[in-house]
């Protein structure tokens, strides 16, 4: 057992690249690329941020419509990987937000907003049915995570 104490890690050849031995001892993975560059837990019902990382602000544009601005920007507008989800506590899937006649509540990137290095526009919405498309909706938990290269 050895303990290394340091405040900052920097690559020698490339400052932003450090290899880490993988679990199988046969390959390496990249430390910087494997780290989440942004995440947020947002309660849009109460308009409260439960926790976040690398987020300077979150704008609640409308019901189920959010813009997260990064503290440190990404390097490319489209070169990032976003995962989103919702926590539907409002109805236990028993009424309009979800249920046997609807798909589940979900979240994703806004399709009508250009991608950006400095922010991400994302939306949460309830399930769709044969006669009603999924509309934006607020939920108690809305989650967004970003991987990619920092600028």
């Amino acid at each position: 057992m050895a303990t290394l104490k340091t405040n900052t890690l920097t690559g020698t050849s490339i400052a932003g690249s450090i290899a880490v031995t993988g679990e199988g001892n046969s390959t390496t993975t990249n430390l910087q690329q494997g780290l989440a560059k942004h995440w947020v837990n947002y309660d849009s019902s109460d308009q409260a941020i439960g926790g976040s990382f690398n987020q300077s602000s979150l704008t609640d544009n409308a019901a189920g419509d959010y813009t997260s601005s990064y503290t440190s920007n990404l390097s490319g507008a489209e070169d990032k990987c976003i995962s989103t989800n919702v926590w539907n506590t409002s109805d236990d899937a028993s009424n309009i937000n979800a249920g046997s006649t609807r798909g589940g509540a979900n979240a994703d990137q806004a399709g009508d907003t250009a991608q950006s290095t400095s922010s991400i526009n994302w939306m949460s919405y309830f399930g769709s049915s044969a006669d009603a498309n999924a509309g934006n909706a607020d939920f108690d938990g809305n989650y967004c995570m970003t991987h990619g290269d920092l600028a």
Binding site: T6, G11, I18, V20, E23, G34, E78, C81, D108, H147
Partner: protein
């Protein structure tokens, strides 16, 4: 302030295990390798499929509308890893199959859940052990 400059990190007792103090109380540790995402991809599934950016992805195949297979550069240790996805413009990412070397995803139109539909971006992350 101290800065460690290195190109690679290995565990001392086991090469594949490094712990780091990460708890709010400065006591609890977590495992660096286990905490890292091993694969992520930003796919453009419209038109000719393209990988806009990725970690540990070798190629992407457009099987059909909203149906893509992504092959890894370095394989996962088992097929029981944890994938999470995110689409755009009401596209939901469904994982059809997981293998140690690739995964097959469907991009489905949330407003018409029975139909696959192309997405840009179609994203997913994978956590788990490398082979």
């Amino acid at each position: 302030m101290s800065t460690l400059r290195t190109n690679a990190l290995e565990g001392m007792d086991a090469k594949n295990s490094i712990t780091i103090v990460a708890g709010a109380g400065n006591i609890t540790t977590t495992n660096v390798q286990e905490g890292l995402v091993k694969i992520w991809v930003d796919l453009d599934g419209t038109g000719t499929i393209a990988i806009d950016d990725s970690l540990n992805c070798a190629s992407a195949t457009d099987n059909n509308t909203g149906n893509y297979t992504v092959t890894y550069t370095n394989n996962m240790a088992s097929a029981t890893y944890s994938p999470t996805g995110g689409g755009s413009n009401r596209r939901v990412i469904i994982f059809e199959s997981r293998a140690t070397s690739n995964t097959n995803i469907y991009s489905q139109d949330h407003n018409d859940g029975t139909n696959e539909a192309d997405a840009d971006p179609a994203c997913f992350h994978i956590c788990g052990d490398l082979a």
